[in-house]
């Protein structure tokens, strides 16, 4: 071992440099260790050179170097290189006292001193640098993994977009393999149009800006994919572009936009009034329809607090309810506070909450159903009207499903003398005698009538009904069929015609009575007048004797002539009574004048006529003539009158009779009493009806007035 003290004893300053150097310095002679400085011991963690020397082989030469070469072999190689070249610099691995790896950068310098060759080794501690390098390496490895495994596509470029690296995701997305991408300019990944719209801004990138941009990238197969690109310049001047496929995001965005658009359209164009409100019940937005329905303006509505500003307590309550429970419904008239318009609205107020019951949004849907409501009201009113007509009708009205009563009015119950409960559910024949006047079964006939009505045949007919107490009464039934809920619903209007029937019956009886009376009168005229005359004739003839006294024969002859004349007169009278001769031959005016002459002595008849010799159909003439006769007879018998007026006029195709007298007047009960004194009037009515004329009896306190009119053609006049 050669002491460096001796080596540098003359050169004290160098000795100090050696000892005080921060870098470890070791001196070798040939291949043997000679000396080291303090810095060496410090680095390796030894307290003294002695301690260091005991572990020197292991410290200076661990078994293997980093490149895997054996230290014992490599150390000689390194030293030989130094001896040959004069110096050699290399990295070396030592172990410190704690057997930890120490990286050093070694510079071996050959020094010749006193003909001895020394190697002067200066170490630079590389541990920190090595550690850094190792970290860097690991980081690069990690980076590489991240780079390759990244979900986003990453391109690395230099200069003006020349691609120098690309990761798997980038390749996969764009469709090129890595080799194809490297060397390509990034601009070729975009369409010219895209570049025109969104040019690549290297200027900004180079300034250090990070550019985030959505672009459309053109893949190898021509497919265009929307991407979000994030480009920045790296410290080393390279540019890194991260890009992400945002197709799904774009689709979602588009869907969201569409959905929003849809909602906007619904909001805007829905036939509903829509408004939004917050948790305080304040309107935050509304559509035009809502404004129109309320008749207000957007300015007045937005900001309106529905819990405070409305004057409709019911609506306020419903809004409150929606805020508490999520839903409120209102349907009624509403007068706008801001617009003063009154509408019938149907409103649904809905609030949406999240899972923690936090209020998200409130929405109100308002429908203007004023027209519908008005129609409903009109319908209800019309129904009420109908109900009123139905209930107050003077005829009985019954509603049947087929032949079962389902409803009836008040008059029905009055007419049948039963309660509604007793009637509903029954059939019409339950309220009829077993048989109708024609002998047919009521049940069978009723069913037939209903069937006919349903088929649209005869609708009005006469029917005998039976009251609850068993009394039969005549009715006229009118059946109307209408379709109600696909069922044949039959409406039966039943009119009590007992009075009419009785009246008809009386007229019928009167006709028979009159005819009988007339026959009897004729029979008695013939019997009493002509019979005795003819008997007398016979008796005289029995006394005729051609051989008898000439004077007597002359007397008999004169008697016979007298009787025959009287008989002829009588026959004419009777014949005239049957069919007025004058009327037939000369018309009404002449016949009436002749009849009036017979009453001259009893009272005064004022007869006025413009008929002259005008002739009318035979039936009309007879009816007018007989009615005048009947009226005059009635006046003579009952009226105690002094004057009678008979006016006959023919004007514009209408024959008019006006008859008056100044008697005691017509007893109103006359017509309805049915007593025989009224028979004359029944005769008159019956006769008028037989020619379908119009008549009227005037109610007067002093006297009597009757008019009769009949539209009739004029027959050619017959001259007297």
């Amino acid at each position: 071992m050669i002491s460096t003290g001796k080596l540098f004893e003359d050169q004290e300053p160098f000795r100090l440099l050696f000892e005080l150097s921060n870098d470890p310095i070791l001196i070798f002679k040939d291949f043997q260790f000679v000396d080291c400085n303090k810095a060496t011991l410090t680095l390796l963690g030894f307290s003294s050179k002695k301690e260091f020397e005991t572990a020197i082989d292991e410290v200076l030469a661990p078994e293997y170097q980093l490149d895997g070469e054996k230290s014992s072999v490599k150390v000689k190689t390194m030293m030989n290189k130094a001896y040959q070249k004069g110096n050699h610099r290399f990295e070396w691995v030592h172990l410190n006292k704690k057997k930890e790896v120490i990286y050093v950068d070694v510079t071996l310098t050959q020094i010749s001193y006193l003909e001895q060759n020394y190697l002067f080794a200066i170490w630079r501690d590389m541990s920190k640098q090595k550690k850094y390098e190792k970290n860097l390496e690991e980081s690069e490895k990690l980076y590489s993994i991240l780079f390759e495994q990244a979900a986003d596509g990453i391109l690395v470029g230099i200069n003006k977009g020349e691609i120098i690296d690309a990761n798997k995701s980038a390749c996969k997305l764009i469709g090129y393999n890595k080799d194809e991408l490297i060397g390509k300019n990034i601009k070729h990944l975009f369409s010219p149009k895209e570049l025109a719209i969104n040019p690549l801004r290297y200027d900004l990138i180079k300034n250090g800006d990070t550019i985030i941009k959505e672009r459309e990238i053109v893949c190898k197969d021509g497919k265009v994919v929307p991407v979000e690109m994030n480009t920045k310049i790296l410290e080393d001047g390279r540019m890194q572009t991260l890009f992400r496929d945002i197709s799904n995001r774009k689709t979602a965005e588009k869907a969201l936009i569409e959905s929003e658009e849809k909602y906007r359209n619904v909001f805007k164009y829905a036939p509903l009034g829509i408004f939004h409100y917050d948790q305080n019940g304040v309107i935050t937005d509304c559509n035009q329809n809502f404004i129109d329905i309320i008749g207000s303006s957007k300015e007045q509505l937005i900001g309106l607090n529905m819990l405070k500003d409305l004057n409709n307590l019911e609506i306020t309550k419903k809004i409150e309810l929606s805020l508490k429970t999520g839903e409120g419904v209102y349907e009624n008239w509403y007068t706008s506070v801001t617009g003063k318009k009154t509408t019938f609205v149907k409103g649904l107020f809905k609030c949406i909450f999240d899972e923690n019951r936090n209020f998200i949004s409130g929405i109100g849907l308002i429908e203007d159903i004023t027209q519908r409501k008005k129609a409903e009201i009109a319908l209800i009113e019309s129904e009420q009207k109908y109900r009123m007509l139905f209930e107050n009708a003077s005829d009985s009205i019954m509603i049947m499903n087929e032949d079962i009563f389902v409803d009836c009015n008040e008059k029905t119950l009055e007419l049948f003398g039963c309660s509604k409960k007793e009637l509903i559910g029954q059939s019409p024949y339950k309220f009829s005698p077993k048989k109708q006047p024609d002998g047919r079964s009521s049940k069978e006939k009723a069913r037939e009538k209903i069937k006919e009505a349903i088929q649209g045949k005869s609708k009005i007919f006469e029917w005998v009904h039976q009251k609850a107490d068993g009394t039969n009464f005549y009715t006229e039934v009118s059946l109307n069929v209408f379709d109600l809920q696909n069922k044949n619903t039959v409406q039966a209007i039943v009119r009590d015609i007992s009075d009419r029937k009785e009246f008809e019956q009386r007229i019928y009886e009167t006709i028979i009575e009159t005819e009988e009376r007339e026959r009897q009168r004729l029979a008695s005229d013939i019997h009493d007048e002509i019979g005795p005359l003819l008997s007398s004739l016979k008796v005289y003839i029995e006394s005729l004797n051609p051989k008898g006294d000439a004077t007597k024969q002359q007397y008999i002859k004169s008697k016979l002539q007298e009787l025959i004349k009287e008989t002829i007169d009588n026959v004419r009278e009777v014949s005239n009574a049957i069919s007025p001769y004058l009327l037939n031959k000369y018309g009404m005016e002449a016949a009436i004048e002749s009849f009036i002459k017979q009453t001259e002595n009893i009272l005064t008849i004022h007869f006025k006529s413009n008929l002259k010799d005008k002739r009318f159909p035979l039936k009309t003439e007879i009816v007018f003539f007989r009615i005048i006769k009947e009226l005059i007879n009635n006046t003579l018998k009952h009226a105690r009158a002094k004057n009678i007026g008979v006016h006959l006029q023919y004007n514009k195709g209408e024959l008019l009779l006006c008859y008056t007298d100044d008697g005691i007047g017509l007893d109103k009960k006359y017509l309805s009493s049915g007593k025989t004194e009224g028979m004359g009037l029944f005769n008159i009515i019956n006769r008028v009806n037989s020619i379908q004329g119009d008549y009227k009896f005037y109610e007067m306190s002093d006297g009597f007035k009757f008019t009769l009119t009949k539209k009739t053609p004029l027959l050619e006049s017959i001259k007297k």
Partner: protein, 120 residues
């Protein structure tokens, strides 16, 4: 023999009276004539009459009533009902009332009247 004719028809009264006078003047002493039942009763009170020719239908008092009264009052008085053919049914009432015979106006002849006289 005195005869009374009760009939409300003047022509017939006149004709029948003339007929009786002409045909039965040998037996009839006097002929009275009245126009209803009441007058018949009145004249019977004042005159003795043997035979009455009584009409059926008359005003004031008809033949049936008059017959009932006079047959009770005058036991010997004979009543002959006089009627038209059409009144044959009424004849029964007259016979029930007490008439002894009847003669039909249309069939008046001397023979028919003779029968009335002889049957009494």
């Amino acid at each position: 023999m005195t005869v009374l004719i009760v009939d409300d028809n003047k022509q017939f009264l006149e004709a029948f009276k003339f007929f009786l006078q002409e045909n039965f003047s040998d037996r009839i002493e006097e002929i009275f004539e009245v126009s209803n039942g009441q007058e018949c009763l009145d004249i019977l009170k004042r005159n003795a009459i043997d035979i009455v020719f009584m009409d059926f239908e008359m005003p004031v008092m008809n033949g049936v009533e008059a017959t009932k009264i006079i047959v009770d009052l005058y036991r010997n008085l004979k009543v002959v009902a006089v009627s038209f053919h059409s009144e044959l049914e009424d004849m029964e009432k007259m016979l029930e009332a007490g008439a002894r015979n009847y003669i039909i106006k249309e069939e008046i002849s001397p023979e028919a009247v003779e029968k009335c006289f002889t049957n009494i």
